[in-house]
């Protein structure tokens, strides 16, 4: 498959602070590619570089096979970008915002008249078209911002944390919208701090402190991770957890909602689990191997990076 985005060895610094440390990744034509990581991982910096909004300090970036440092104007007319902060005019109505973005991208009146009803049908915003954008709820604002980024029928969408601070129901609806945009042939690069959204992407890049932890399909990332996860539940969770944390053979013991996840080396898992069952019999633990989630893997890679470098001093 052809790459619509190619990033090679990108470094970026703000003063003496390194935001991106030799990042490389590819986004294929037609895929939804997730950029997964917390705040200050470098997601926004990378996206701004892709959109030609930040100069490239070192490394190469091409979008649509065009060099971003030379052809950013042409690239910009073919991509839609939804920044992290609400990018719309709060005191314009829903419709006025759409018309504004259509003019900004030189969409013809004829084209625009065809496009707006499509976007309304898709976002279900038609009944709110005369409402001021500032008076929309959080989920609706995100749908309008997405619609504005789509008004010129871009080949590539770059979305910076579109579901940040959005409730689970609106998040689900937003992802359904992304899937239908993808079906129309648009490629999507989307960043998110919610690890569960990784499962909805065709491929993901896990990013932390300006470094790529892994970049592949969710299935392959899980297959290439050579550890296993056991879920622990117990009626005496409060007593059991501090005991488990002390055991050095357990690589990590993390709370996930009302259960604990133990990460173990695959080849040692069976014997460790046996020992735990006997040793903590009094707490009546239920231990069960489960498929690792993206959050298990992210935490594991993240801890490996932290062990290699000194932690940040306050």
């Amino acid at each position: 498959m052809q790459d619509i985005i190619q990033v090679r060895d990108i470094m970026h610094q703000y003063g003496d602070k390194t935001a991106l440390e030799k990042i490389s990744l590819q986004v294929s034509q037609g895929e939804i590619h997730g950029l997964i990581g917390p705040d200050s991982a470098g997601k926004t910096t990378l996206m701004r570089i892709l959109c030609g909004l930040l100069n490239i300090q070192s490394g190469t970036v091409s979008v649509f096979d065009l060099d971003v440092s030379k052809k950013f104007k042409e690239i910009r007319s073919r991509l839609g970008y939804m920044p992290q902060r609400f990018s719309l005019y709060q005191d314009l109505s829903v419709e006025e915002n759409l018309l504004f973005f259509a003019r900004l991208f030189s969409v013809t009146v004829q084209e625009r008249n065809q496009r707006l009803p499509e976007l309304y049908a898709f976002s279900r915003l038609e009944q709110f078209k005369s409402r001021r954008a500032g008076a929309l709820s959080g989920g609706m604002k995100q749908k309008l911002a997405l619609s504005c980024a789509l008004v010129h029928r871009p080949e590539l969408l770059i979305l910076d944390e579109p579901t940040y601070g959005v409730d689970p129901v609106s998040r689900q609806e937003f992802w359904q919208m992304l899937k239908s945009i993808q079906k129309g042939g648009t490629s999507i690069l989307v960043s998110t701090p919610y690890m569960d959204e990784a499962e909805l992407c065709d491929r993901v890049t896990l990013i932390y402190n300006g470094k790529v932890l892994a970049s592949d399909t969710p299935t392959k990332i899980k297959a290439n991770w050579n550890k296993v996860v056991f879920r622990v539940t117990s009626p005496e969770m409060k007593e059991l957890e501090p005991e488990l944390v002390k055991i050095i053979e357990i690589e990590s013991c993390q709370r996930f909602g009302n259960e604990l996840h133990l990460v173990l080396q695959a080849d040692e898992a069976a014997s460790i689990i046996n020992q735990l069952e006997t040793r903590f019999d009094e707490y009546m633990p239920m231990l069960e191997q489960i498929q690792p989630g993206m959050e298990d893997i992210y935490l594991s890679y993240m801890q490996a990076v932290q062990h290699k470098e000194p932690s940040h001093a306050g």
Partner: protein, 244 residues
């Protein structure tokens, strides 16, 4: 619910707020005990923020009453504000001040004696691995540290009740867990913690939650009990089932 009203930190009776013809909070009845970690869940626009603003004494109810930390929210809102701590998702810290300068600034705001504020901060921050004497500006701290500093600033005046508005948005998964350990310790020491979050796994960490929709409480109780009642494996499923 035990009937010992002295252990109640929050009690609301038909608490209602209307903006024009729009009812943001509709007859909310809640009793929250001392030492509870209580979660407010709901879609954007469900009324969580309006409810919390009333409970903080920042907004007067249209009808109904609430007693928070032994203060009537309508008539004793100034006194109420001295008894509560509030931490917003934007971490209201001054980025170009050092850690210590932020602590001193907030001790001034909350009228806490400097020496007392510094000892409270020292205890809370060293527990989290942050050096109060560091010359570094707040802007250079990792997000997880900023979050803990913001929490510390909201605790300087030793409030009985703490409001956390999406406290973990954007911080990494490890820092999110460390933060919840701190919340648990605070609750064990008797602080009442009210938290809003969109991370449904965090809803599991609350002792009780309320799920709001269109200003009303559509579910209220312990996560385990609610999941059981609705036959769902986790809070995410419960939320999607009730709110969709």
């Amino acid at each position: 619910m035990p009937d010992n009203s002295k252990s109640l930190m929050i009690q609301t009776t038909d608490l209602t707020k209307r903006f024009g013809r729009f009812t943001a909070v509709d007859k909310l009845n809640l009793s929250i005990e001392k030492g509870e970690i209580f979660g407010f869940l709901g879609a954007n626009g469900a009324g969580k923020t309006t409810a919390i603003r009333m409970l903080c004494g920042l907004l007067k109810p249209t009808s109904g009453t609430a007693v928070v930390a032994d203060c009537d929210i309508t008539h004793q809102s100034e006194q109420l504000k001295t008894r509560i701590g509030y931490m917003s998702q934007r971490f209201a810290l001054y980025e170009d001040l050092t850690v210590k300068e932020n602590v001193l600034f907030y001790s001034g705001i909350y009228q806490v004696e400097t020496s007392r504020a510094l000892s409270v901060a020292e205890e809370l921050l060293s527990e989290m691995g942050i050096d109060l004497g560091s010359k570094a500006l707040t802007s250079s701290l990792p997000l997880g540290f900023k979050q803990r500093l913001a929490l510390t600033c909201s605790l300087l005046h030793d409030p009985r009740l703490l409001f956390l508005d999406e406290p973990t948005s954007g911080v990494d998964p490890q820092a999110r867990r460390a933060f919840w350990n701190v919340i648990n310790r605070l609750a064990e020491k008797g602080k009442t913690v009210i938290v809003t979050t969109h991370f449904m796994d965090e809803a599991e960490y609350c002792h009780r939650v309320v799920i709001m929709q269109e200003g009303k409480a559509i579910a209220l109780g312990e996560p385990a009990v609610l999941k059981n009642e609705h036959s769902v494996p986790n809070m995410q499923q419960l939320f999607l089932k009730l709110v969709s």
